[in-house]
């Protein structure tokens, strides 16, 4: 496959589970500085798509290139090292650690066995942890055991744990699920703030939220792309209305 100018280039990607094609011959291109939202009905293959990109699921055929590096042959941690960060659908944070420790553990230094034994928390890293905590609205909760955070705050913390690694591709699976209206607004503002200098791929169901953040929207249906374009175009697409948005 040829190299492209896109940050993320997915071509002819297929994954088949016992003959069922969850993602079927998919082509998707995401630019740098772009915030792309993927929507679609349940079972459309949205989460599977993220699983494929971050290496959790291995593809059956096709190619995923990130900055012209082939990801399908790398292991999970190598994909992270290549600059890809992924938030899971249910907030995955370390509940037995404090907010501060959650961010410290995610800091991209001391990633080997020996490196982590010799890891020293410098003032620079300390400052970075506090900066990120402020970015994700958790500056006042650094010492709190993260199990005690609200659901929305847990979502933010996980986003913070990704941001501290400064990934060039950030993938968020339903970042506002379980959030209050206020929290949703704050998250929209956060996402608009962090999408410069990187590409962001978001899966979301809440159409109001999508309208606030999306540069471009991709609609998946049965593992294939049903429509792609800006919010307006997609919302008025008769196929999309038929299978997803409803009349």
């Amino acid at each position: 496959m040829s190299n492209t100018d896109f940050a993320l280039a997915i071509e002819d990607l297929t994954v088949s589970f016992d003959g069922f094609k969850a993602v079927d011959d998919l082509n998707l291109y995401v630019d740098k500085d772009e915030l792309r939202v993927v929507i679609g009905p349940n079972g459309a293959g949205k989460t599977t798509l993220l699983d494929l990109i971050c290496g959790k699921t291995k593809s059956t055929s096709g190619s995923i290139k990130f900055k012209n590096t082939e990801l399908t042959k790398l292991s999970e941690h190598e994909i992270v090292h290549a600059g890809v960060g992924r938030k899971f659908q249910t907030p995955s944070i370390y509940e037995n650690l404090s907010v501060y420790e959650n961010l410290e553990v995610s800091y991209p230094k001391g990633r080997g066995v020996l490196g982590s034994l010799m890891f020293v928390l410098t003032d620079e890293i300390d400052a970075r942890i506090k900066e990120i905590a402020n970015d994700v609205f958790l500056g006042d909760f650094l010492e709190m055991e993260s199990a005690l955070l609200s659901h929305g705050q847990k979502q933010w913390l996980e986003i913070g744990m990704l941001l501290i690694q400064d990934p060039e591709l950030l993938m968020l699976d339903e970042p506002v699920a379980g959030m209050s209206v206020n929290e949703r607004e704050q998250t929209a503002e956060l996402l608009n703030r962090i999408c410069t200098g990187r590409s962001v791929l978001v899966i979301e169901h809440d159409m109001d939220f999508v309208a606030k953040i999306a540069h471009k929207v991709t609609v998946l249906h049965q593992g294939k792309i049903l429509a792609e374009g800006d919010m307006q175009t997609v919302q008025n697409d008769p196929d999309v209305i038929e299978v997803y948005l409803g009349h």
Partner: protein, 401 residues
């Protein structure tokens, strides 16, 4: 110095625990117990190595190994092989048909020393073997399991089976291993008789210091980023993996460290008890080690030492009077701890120590000792720094929404 205080002793609470334990093991017990009982404590303390190793592996890493006896036994056997060779010099064994080889080999019609016994003629190589062989074995097991992402209950079962296989192997190959009786009649290291009263004291203290060394090493590991990663992996392994860590390497490492620690305990066991047998390798001793850790508190390096001592003493006392009942009692103890005190003795201590200390602090002599210790320059410095840190860390606030 601050590094030693914070990272090896574990800050104020850790240092307090270490000092109390050191007083007990190094001063109180040797002064109050007769040699027979002290030697018994020394034997129990060798099990504490395995219990400490389980704090790293199980308490923090969340990896339950039901086969720590494998490594305890391997370490013990390495040491026993050296001692046996020294005890089997040609003069002492001149009535055998092949003088100069261990007696059990002669009984099994072996006429020369097997090749893998040769290195154990050297004490230096033996020490190396005690440390390296169990670690390498753990590396092989760990690599083949963790790289394939075998974990949880499967890991526990497989380690248990390996412990069983090893026992069967040792019992079956009695010409090479001494069989079910193990390796017995151990006497000297380079002529130094390990059965003397004075040697028993020396070995007790070597064992105690090694145990503290191992606790310091473990504390260093647990207070590093590695320690926090272990806790993180125990909770959300996938999150760690997708944060750019090769999770299997971390598990393999901690498994190897825990194997090495258990092996040191095994070697010290052989030295203090004077023999090694398959009954310290198999499933039962391995599960006992898990019970020691559970009763002591699997998250506490100090707690498990108390857990080991208490359960072992209990075993000695009860198994003498009610041999049939003991196993049931042990099982009940394990269930009770898991159900009511998931953090074991250490957890109970954490809950009530303020009351106890409040009472003790009222005693004038103790007060003087405490103020003397906090007067030692590096401790005072670290204390002052800890106070400053406490002030600068942000205060908790309740969420505003």
């Amino acid at each position: 110095m601050n590094f030693v205080y914070e990272r090896m002793l574990g800050g104020k609470n850790g240092a307090k625990g270490i000092i109390i334990l050191a007083l007990l093991i190094l001063v109180i017990l040797p002064l109050t117990l007769d040699l027979f009982r002290l030697n018994l404590v020394g034997k129990y303390l060798t099990y504490a190595f395995a219990a400490v190793s389980l704090v790293l592996l199980w308490g923090y890493g969340g990896i339950l190994s039901l086969g720590q006896g494998i490594f305890f036994g391997l370490g013990g056997y390495c040491m026993a092989m050296f001692l046996k060779l020294e005890a089997s010099d040609p003069i002492a064994t001149k009535i055998q048909s092949t003088p100069g080889i261990p007696d059990f080999m002669d009984w099994n019609q072996l006429t020369e020393l097997p090749w893998f016994w040769e290195p154990f003629n050297s004490f230096g190589l033996t020490i190396l073997a005690v440390l390296v062989i169990p670690t390498l074995f753990a590396l092989i097991i760990g690599f083949s399991m963790f790289k394939r992402r075998v974990g949880g209950v499967y890991f526990a079962i497989i380690t248990q089976i390996i412990a069983l296989i090893l026992t069967v192997l040792i019992v079956g190959q009695q010409g090479y291993t001494g069989g079910i009786n193990g390796i017995t009649d151990l006497k000297t290291i380079h002529g130094w008789d390990i059965r003397d009263d004075s040697s028993k004291y020396i070995l007790y203290f070597i064992n105690a210091f090694l145990l503290f060394g191992v606790i310091f090493l473990s504390r260093f590991i647990l207070t590093s980023k590695f320690g926090r990663l272990l806790l993180a992996m125990k909770d959300k392994e996938d999150r760690v993996r997708f944060s750019g860590y090769d999770v299997s390497n971390f598990k393999i490492f901690i498994f190897c460290v825990s194997a090495m620690i258990s092996a040191i305990g095994g070697a010290m066991f052989t030295l203090q008890v004077g023999f090694m047998s398959p009954s310290f390798v198999g499933i039962v001793p391995s599960i006992e080690m898990v019970i020691f850790a559970a009763v002591g508190g699997r998250m506490s390096l100090i707690g498990v030492v108390y857990g080991t001592l208490l359960v072992s003493f209990g075993k000695t006392i009860f198994s003498e009077t009610f041999p049939e009942l003991w196993l049931f009692l042990m099982g009940a103890l394990f269930i009770a701890v898991v159900m009511f005190f998931p953090n074991g003795i250490a957890g109970v201590w954490e809950k009530y120590n303020k009351k106890v200390f409040g009472f003790i602090a009222g005693v004038p002599l103790i007060n003087k000792i405490v103020s003397f210790i906090s007067g030692i320059p590096f401790i005072a410095k670290a204390k002052a720094k800890a106070l400053v840190n406490k002030k600068t860390t942000p205060k908790l606030e309740t969420p505003n929404e």
